[in-house]
């Protein structure tokens, strides 16, 4: 019952969930507009999978409101289920069935009809490069193939919202790139993506908006750039040809970190074009020659460390 024409694809408020006395989600709010990629980023055990399980109607929340595809997940799960596709962290494929049979099973359960189901299965096998393995049992598939089949199964009914729970965990770099391209293609087709990952690079690469989840709470939310700007640590590094240049620059710029051995100066900066131009103007005015320059903006690793207060030490070795 809303008056706005464009509903957010996913909206959650004050979402809480505990398993026993272990609090997994401690009141999180989410707002994902249609047709965007939203990434929930966090270390192992932060509550990412639990969030996906609640949003995808697999488990119930203890409290809080969740609307997905404009329906309440707790009171009205079936329309939600009809609108979503889910790809879990652990492959949800039937190992005894072939890739093709898995896809047709999904088509049957989506009531696509025999002919349309077969057509859609063939289309997805082609799209996900599984044609050759179509008649082999899923148990014989490699990790990357299983992940592709898993995602393909989630897409059989052309869902408008797709949940991807750590879709590239444990994949080799090439399979990861393939998966990323698939995700971009989906969004290009108007699908909303809810992606969880513990890889900062992945969120940076794909997501329109990123939320950082730590110990069941959202500690930050924004675009990758917004998040990077929230923490200090950015600087411009200036390289000089000789000690005279370094001396002169240090006098002119004042506040800077000087390294006599490397003949370099580190000037604090947010890395924006404006501040860079101001810095260069200052050096020009003083006629100081610069041999080299590099900009260091904080990456999401810095953001992660600064905001969660712990290194992302539990990163899987399988990466």
């Amino acid at each position: 019952m809303t008056t706005t024409p464009s509903q957010p694809a996913i909206r959650a408020s004050e979402l809480r969930k505990s398993f026993g006395d272990h609090v997994v989600l401690d009141g999180i709010d989410l707002d994902v507009p249609e047709g965007t990629i939203f990434s929930l980023l966090g270390p192992n055990g932060a509550g990412k999978t639990t969030t996906v399980q609640i949003l995808s109607t697999l488990i119930g929340a203890d409290s809080g409101q969740v609307r997905v595809a404009a329906h309440d997940v707790a009171r009205d799960p079936d329309p939600v289920r009809a609108a979503i596709g889910v790809t879990g962290q652990f492959s949800a494929v039937d190992n005894l069935l072939t890739g093709e049979e898995n896809l047709i099973l999904m088509a049957d359960l989506r009531h696509l009809g025999r002919r349309e189901g077969r057509r859609r299965a063939a289309e997805l096998l082609d799209q996900f490069d599984l044609v050759e393995a179509a008649r082999k049992p899923a148990a014989t598939y490699s990790g990357g193939m299983r992940r592709r089949l898993d995602l393909a199964m989630g897409l059989v009914g052309d869902p408008r919202i797709v949940f991807l729970d750590e879709p590239t965990a444990g994949l080799d770099p090439r399979s990861r790139r393939t998966m990323w391209q698939i995700i971009r293609d989906l969004v290009a087709g108007g699908v909303t993506i809810f992606l969880t990952t513990q890889y900062l690079e992945e969120a940076d690469e794909l997501a329109d908006r990123i939320a950082l989840l730590d110990h069941g709470k959202l500690v930050a939310e924004g675009t990758a750039n917004q998040l990077k700007r929230r923490i200090p640590g950015g600087h411009i590094s200036l390289q000089f040809a000789d000690t005279d240049g370094l001396e002169a620059a240090a006098r002119t710029l004042g506040e800077a970190l000087r390294d006599d051995d490397a003949l370099s100066l580190q000037v604090p900066s947010d890395g924006s074009v404006k501040s860079l131009r101001a810095l260069l103007d200052q050096l020009d005015d003083a006629s100081i020659g610069v041999a080299g320059l590099s900009i260091h903006t904080p990456d999401l690793d810095d953001v992660f460390l600064a905001l969660t207060g712990q290194p992302d030490k539990e990163k899987e070795p399988a990466r």
Binding site: G88, F90, A92, L96
Partner: protein, 263 residues
């Protein structure tokens, strides 16, 4: 399509899935149908001469014992087959695909009805094989078509009841190993009833258990239908037991399946 036709369509889809599993993994089916056949041959050829003589009927001996033991062996076939149900349900629940089914807009119990109907087909086929072997080694039932149909009905009913029960057992266990052991006592129930020897020959405490446990009235009903022995009130008691077990198993399984999956 209406809700009912979705329910039927989804259950049929899940049934096809379960039948495919049975075809892809035939060793379990073979093991489950093999066990009662081994027991049948063991009891007829090793113990049959002596046990048959103890039945106290004029013809006596091994020929007599084939007739006596076959209904008990049929119940053992059901008990062994539903052990497979518990295993395959428990195996299924460890797979991620069940989580996927739960996030799809499908008729929710279809996962369970697929298992139940699949197991029933498997069990009825197993029983047909066992009856075939029994006929080969001298089982000569006096039943006409009506009695055969009634006996098939009774067997279907006890299969349905035990299948729902073991679906629940498969859901309640945390591991496949436990699921394979939990229904084991069912296989022994025909021994502790009228399956292999008349209950009258047992000591008092055991006899009391043997006479009142659910398998005995089912076995007696089958014996009556196939061989013409008196049925008495066994049929009514058998049907009541089957209905009761089926209902408890169904409600239990439904409750277990509908709870939030644990991670």
């Amino acid at each position: 399509m209406s809700t009912l036709s979705y329910a039927v369509a989804d259950s049929a889809t899940m049934l096809r899935r379960n039948l495919r599993h049975m075809l892809r993994y035939p060793s379990m089916t073979l093991m489950l149908v093999g066990m009662p056949i081994v027991f049948l041959l063991l009891f007829v050829y090793v113990f049959g001469g002596t046990l048959g003589a103890g039945l106290g009927r004029p013809s006596g001996g091994r020929t007599e014992y084939v007739e006596y033991v076959t209904p008990g062996i049929l119940l053992m076939t059901v008990a062994a087959a539903v052990q497979g149900t518990a295993i395959s349900v428990a195996m299924d629940m460890t797979e991620g695909i069940i989580a996927r089914f739960r996030t799809m807009a499908i008729f929710r119990p279809s996962v369970l009805t697929g298992h139940v109907v699949g197991s029933m087909i498997q069990t009825m086929l197993s029983m047909a094989v066992v009856i075939g072997v029994a006929l080969l080694i001298g089982f000569r039932p006096s039943a006409g078509p009506v009695e055969w149909a009634a006996a098939t009905g009774v067997l279907a009913l006890i299969t349905l009841a035990l299948t729902w029960l073991t679906v629940a057992l498969g859901l309640v266990t945390k591991s496949v190993e436990t699921a394979s052991n939990l229904p084991m006592p069912l296989v022994f129930l025909p021994f502790l009833g009228s399956g292999f020897v008349p209950t009258g020959s047992m000591p008092v405490g055991l006899r009391w258990f043997a006479e009142y446990q659910p398998f005995t009235p089912v076995i007696e009903t089958l014996r009556g239908l196939l061989l013409g022995t008196p049925i008495g009130n066994s049929a009514v008691i058998a049907i009541a037991w089957c209905a009761g077990i089926a209902l408890v198993g169904y409600l239990w399984a439904k409750k277990l399946y509908n709870r939030d999956p644990v991670r």
